[in-house]
Symmetry: D2
Subunit: 337 residues, 4 copies
Amino acid sequence: MIIVMKPKARQESIERIKNLIEENGLQAHISAGHEVTIIGVIGDKARLKEHNLAIYDEVDKIVDVTESYKLANKKFHPEPTIVKVGNVTIGGGTAVIMAGPCAVENRDQLLTTALEIKKYGAHILRGGAYKPRTSPYSFQGLEEEGLSYMKEAREITGLPVVCEVTSLEAIESAVKYVDMLQIGARNMQNFYLLKEAGKTGMPVLLKRGLSATIDEWLNAAEYIIAAGNPNVVLCERGIRTFETATRNTLDISAVPVIREKSHLPIIVDPSHAAGVRAYVKSLSMAAIAAGADGLMIETHPDPSKALSDGPQSLSFDQFEDMMAALKPLVELMGKKM
Amino acid sequence: MIIVMKPKARQESIERIKNLIEENGLQAHISAGHEVTIIGVIGDKARLKEHNLAIYDEVDKIVDVTESYKLANKKFHPEPTIVKVGNVTIGGGTAVIMAGPCAVENRDQLLTTALEIKKYGAHILRGGAYKPRTSPYSFQGLEEEGLSYMKEAREITGLPVVCEVTSLEAIESAVKYVDMLQIGARNMQNFYLLKEAGKTGMPVLLKRGLSATIDEWLNAAEYIIAAGNPNVVLCERGIRTFETATRNTLDISAVPVIREKSHLPIIVDPSHAAGVRAYVKSLSMAAIAAGADGLMIETHPDPSKALSDGPQSLSFDQFEDMMAALKPLVELMGKKM
Amino acid sequence: MIIVMKPKARQESIERIKNLIEENGLQAHISAGHEVTIIGVIGDKARLKEHNLAIYDEVDKIVDVTESYKLANKKFHPEPTIVKVGNVTIGGGTAVIMAGPCAVENRDQLLTTALEIKKYGAHILRGGAYKPRTSPYSFQGLEEEGLSYMKEAREITGLPVVCEVTSLEAIESAVKYVDMLQIGARNMQNFYLLKEAGKTGMPVLLKRGLSATIDEWLNAAEYIIAAGNPNVVLCERGIRTFETATRNTLDISAVPVIREKSHLPIIVDPSHAAGVRAYVKSLSMAAIAAGADGLMIETHPDPSKALSDGPQSLSFDQFEDMMAALKPLVELMGKKM
Amino acid sequence: MIIVMKPKARQESIERIKNLIEENGLQAHISAGHEVTIIGVIGDKARLKEHNLAIYDEVDKIVDVTESYKLANKKFHPEPTIVKVGNVTIGGGTAVIMAGPCAVENRDQLLTTALEIKKYGAHILRGGAYKPRTSPYSFQGLEEEGLSYMKEAREITGLPVVCEVTSLEAIESAVKYVDMLQIGARNMQNFYLLKEAGKTGMPVLLKRGLSATIDEWLNAAEYIIAAGNPNVVLCERGIRTFETATRNTLDISAVPVIREKSHLPIIVDPSHAAGVRAYVKSLSMAAIAAGADGLMIETHPDPSKALSDGPQSLSFDQFEDMMAALKPLVELMGKKM
């Protein structure tokens, strides 16, 4: 931590902070510049957390030099994490494709989709049973009934299944049916939910919040890991910006940035990012080329009748076409699919 | 709802949509322009919700002409809502000042603060017992112990108390101790929590999400009202933008916009918006002048030792000074304080 | 300037940077923390500008502790600047009201407007002769003819006039007709134009760019002042965010932030910020209450026929009503109008 | 154009608008819904441009159904445009690589760079002679001297050259030395400059503004084409968002969106988007995989001494490595390099 003093700060203001630092068992290194004085704090800054140095007299600003996340931080854990979901591994040599409908609508829709996506090479089935919707009048999900169809789909196809959870009750139900829990974008800073998901020990797919910085996202992952669960996979799904041509703005740079800052695997969800199915294939290609560990793709037997997010869902023909295009690219990137 | 077709859409594509609309018991008004054809849908569009018209052949876009929130909408409820919190009314002729520490830290800190803010004219005591924090290593709140201090502070001062809730458990505890529940910015789209807060029937202070549009915010209010609870007060607390000179960007325009679109009261939290206490007084003045129904202000006996958000908390002297400046402005606006 | 090294940076990487700093005649203060080492640079950092320290081996990041703007910086010029435009002073004890049409459309429209705004107490007449428009097919302004009407309006009313300039040619014409040059939001980082406006020595109204940080805005002012022209007035006019209920998001916090960082006067343009005339009065009140030195308001004899920005323009009746509401507020703020 | 009336708008308000439309020689189609009435306008809406329908009594909003750009619009020009720059074609079967230093610093630096990038397969040399810099105290470019080195570099290597222009004077100089003019992000809505660049007839590389929507970007292109110059290449270079891990947020979706809305070629500049050279290779791969027509990459003989944007510049070794990685990907996409 560095404390930057205001120009011409009086010696007594500087001394007061120096003393405070030393009283807490830390060292203060003072550099008196020709315009401003800066004070470097040496030692465990957690000891200072009861003091808001930022508002001491003549302090201009505080600069953190270390990240607040530790367990999710590559600096302290340089080896990449590989997360096992059923018989699938994420973060190793496979570009993992998760696919399925936005919402589980009925048994037929889900089983049909599961069989089709398996045919074209997908590894994990996705499907929402608890749907966070902007309006209370939109379809809210089949809840436990939906989870039971997910389990049945796994039994029939052998594909592991992932489902979003939005409350403690949803977690308690989901752990009985699915292989991986998803924390959605709107709940990325629902810290209560993060801790509960952490306690289950199950693999967690953590979507980035609509307006979360990468730093906040890794701190959200830290909540799960700190609760004893290292099996976290990050999912970039677009951030909110001023641009309206797409539903969100896919932050493709998040892939190399996460690769540099964290050891956790990262996948990309181009369906929610774009909000328009015509753009999903291009963005999937971009994500794999940028080095993502996998993709999450919305597919539906009849997107024109989907109860949620139809406009961004691929038909099976479109999914087949996209998978065919991805295959040689995945190989070029030195992975398998 | 209006369906805009692509330029030169074939007659058969237009007919297919017209038929679909009519089969669902609605009327289709077709306007064939020289470049594009548009189709106006007359009737209850909810009947079409199983059809994603946006992805039918040659459809360019769908334009909604009505808002999805109804109960929170001024169009259908023109009279302003007045919310009663203990003996205080919000949305009437009083500029309601809520003040207190970001986090309840201990009994002394809270009781001291409660007495001081009462002395300078505040109406409601705020204080967090469940703290959503970016890092799992930051102070997370005293939970039920904190709530009991809030209740005690009310007994001593007579001020109603408001506290943030972050889970069903927190709601179940809070209803026993406080007068008003707060849904924080990070949980504004935690729809599960909104419904549970709605079921309590207690007054709810609904903060705007960091990247929530005003439309989404009013839809979040709709969740609470649709659960049977009309006692919702909105709180603008800054949105996330590219600007870093302040912690968030206070969207002061939200005050007149909400006034035009909704009948719900709206207050402003300049402390979280600014993140810097030097700006709190100016922003408080601006909020009242823009027509806000009240303010939420962070105060602390010793901001330099606050466990949460110290840099944006006012000392008691600063709070006194701000209240003195607000008083004539509130009167000028035709309200009392 | 502070250089933060990566964790476990080797001694030789640290030495290399220390040597580089010292070879350039500066001092390096090294603080070796338990996780990271930081290097404080003492002396004029301009001497290092040919070296990109950020990409030296094992450098994590560079933190600037001083602003790059000097002449616009309150730290080095604590007294508030007062700018004289004709017989009007901005930044002193008057809340200066600039009003007029977005675009000068014809002689009648301008003269009528000038007389009306004068009647209700405005101090300066605004009007655009060179209009930056998103589409090439929108009205682009009357250019020099428009300027001549501005001059005539000044002769008739005695009000000083301000007009936007968008090119060197426009500046060369405008200096012959108007009292103050305006640099618009889209040209805030047209550095060529800033320098040319600086050379004229005339008062300059510098609007904030749509996505400019306050730091960039003050650097833009620095260009004008560095060209020898200290007569700069800043104008906050809304920034671009995700919210679409208003045309832009008025950053009301810019008023107290500028007050803390700079000595330049700041006014607010609620018309462009809101884009909707129903919100202009509330936002004007907010701006004055936040401490702004004035306002810029769009008015038009018949907003329903304005060639530019009609929806955000006030009619004369609305302008009169707003001025009446502002008057007691301005007095309450200790200013005159 | 569609006019949406407020709920329960009176018949006389609807009639007034209907009459206005018909008086201007257009047709009005009225659809009276159970909540709101909408009015479709049939005919050339330009005839209504002197009327701000949005502020007529009881009008709720105006919805445009056609884009304001025509010449840049794929709907009216479905064939892709191919732009010829010297002997290089952009928008055809080649992934065009533009490379070079951010700023031309001296003759040696430029010639060395030109020879190196040619060796590794680049097609066009970039280099800035007029540098728009946030601070007036940063290096501003060599101006005409820099242009002369660009010309010399072309003579030696045979590579066409592109240079940013920031004023009419810069355009007048540049046309004598370079093969393509660049309009930078900060000048994307400097409409005066766009028109002047249009008049030259030379190929123009039009960078997207920091906060420009895709719609505004295509309108900026429309200015150039409407001035008689169809040779426009678009360049996505990152937009401004709340994320600070990268200098800007590369909007990779812009590639498929532009492909759908326009016939103009689009390239990507990952160097300015990322601001960090470690991310440039991943983002270059993503851009090509998304379907971009080319890349613009900053390279420098010694990035640690670059006078501008060193941290995002590749060394020659890094450039060689990136080009080797791109080659098989370009082939996989069915293009040559």
